[in-house]
Amino acid sequence: MTEFTPNEMMTIAAARELSNDDVCFVGIGAPSAACNVARLTHAPDITLIYESGTVGTKPDVLPLSIGDGELCDTALFTVSVPEMFRYWLQGGRITTGFLGGAQIDKFANLNTTVVGPYDRPKVRLPGGGGAPEIASNCGRIFITMALTKRGFVETLPFVTSMGQGEGGNHRERLGLTTKGPTRVITDLCILEPDPETKELTVVSVHPGVSREQIIANCGWPIKFAASVIETPVPTETELAVLRDINARTKKAHEGAGTGKEAA
């Protein structure tokens, strides 16, 4: 068995969640890596959409931003940003949204806005971007982020995008017909909302990870499902594809210019 890092396990486990039939709205960073590994392994016909308006894109290197030229060059077509959010996202044409976040709570609500009070923040984060409406308008949401005490918190200072809200049937009560977050893929394990309470519970533990490690890295008393499986180890192909695209990406981003010239 080839050695792999927790981060590689996370990306590969996230990639496995996607299939050829998915029309996926891709967030930048970890989600983008997972979606493209899926496309380059078991889901070659997956439709990847970035909020810059690029539809059916097949980037050879991972974009640094959601609007790198690579996305437009390899897309089936490119629409304006209002059209992207109105017709394609709000129009209900997207099966799966793939998001990351700075902080998440036990009901998979996300915060990317502030740490501390909104008016006098301790840390001002970038904000929601497309996430509030991606979270409500996609058929279902996958989230990928590393499991840490700072990231997985009991109470969010700010709800940037709604996951399962207060749990139970909160989404239905607000008139939502989409599922919201159905899987959270971390570097140690995979979580799913409990069918009744909607609280995130561990359903799959990555190879070599202990329950104690998971408990120690979560900011709330995390629950385990009645039946917990072990996540299958990454295959040689999955690892090769991920490492290849990461290497190409690193080279491309550092090579676009010397970085020394001034603007």
Binding site: G29, F85, L89, G127, M162
Partner: protein
Amino acid sequence: MARIQPLAEAVADNVRDGDAVSMEGFTHLIPYAAGHEVIRQGRKDLFLIRMTPDILYDQLIGVGAARAMKFSWGGNPGVGSLHRFRDAVENQWPRPLEIEEHSHAAMANAYEAGAANLPFAMLRGYIGADLPKVNPNIKSVTCPFTGETLAAVPAIRPDVTIIHAQRADRKGNVLIEGIVGVQKEAVLAAKRSIVTVEEIVEELAPPSPNSVVLPSWVVTAIAHVPGGAFPSYAHGYYARNNAFYIRWDEIARDRESFTAWIKENVLDAKPEDFARHAAKNSVKAA
């Protein structure tokens, strides 16, 4: 009809202290050269509008040109924080910055409402999110036909919109290609507009009857500034300089290094300095 004029004149004629200014470009075609000219001319108390205030607005905020900003995502894409934006919000340096924060969907709808001459935009948005609690400009309307409650935000009507485009013809018609973002809506929503372009050509020759063209009679001023979108990019001309976006994190982290960078590369520079970026990367053109 659009006037073709030097960038400094276009900015002097159209951007005033206190204006609501929108500089758009969704990662692509960001009007850096024009933004730098606004800084050089010392415009102040601006109400900045932009969906994704990235490095350019970090620069405007850091020099103290803005009193407020309306936006939906304020980061350095794929890199991290905007340090000058954070310093303004967290420490009020160099001056306090009032913020009006939305989601992308709401901003895109609000530009479209502005272009359509409507007073507000509605969307199925902000459900279960906290932004409506902190932004009084997010309200709701009830559909008169179904009774559904929808989010409502005011239309965006900038005093002036500034964009960068691939090319214009001598009459002042403008062509935009690639990731077209929200630029057409931002120009049509504004009272005045400035477009910087990579090239001015005899014949615009749009590649398709459905190309995104802004006719001369909706544009106020056009300035020929090759390379004017650097370190962003111009599809068909030069690639995004991701290395510079990564390096900006270091430059902007510290007030002194930021101020020194602005002096050397903005205050003591001129629009023609951008041309070398167009030439340098042209072989990598998309």
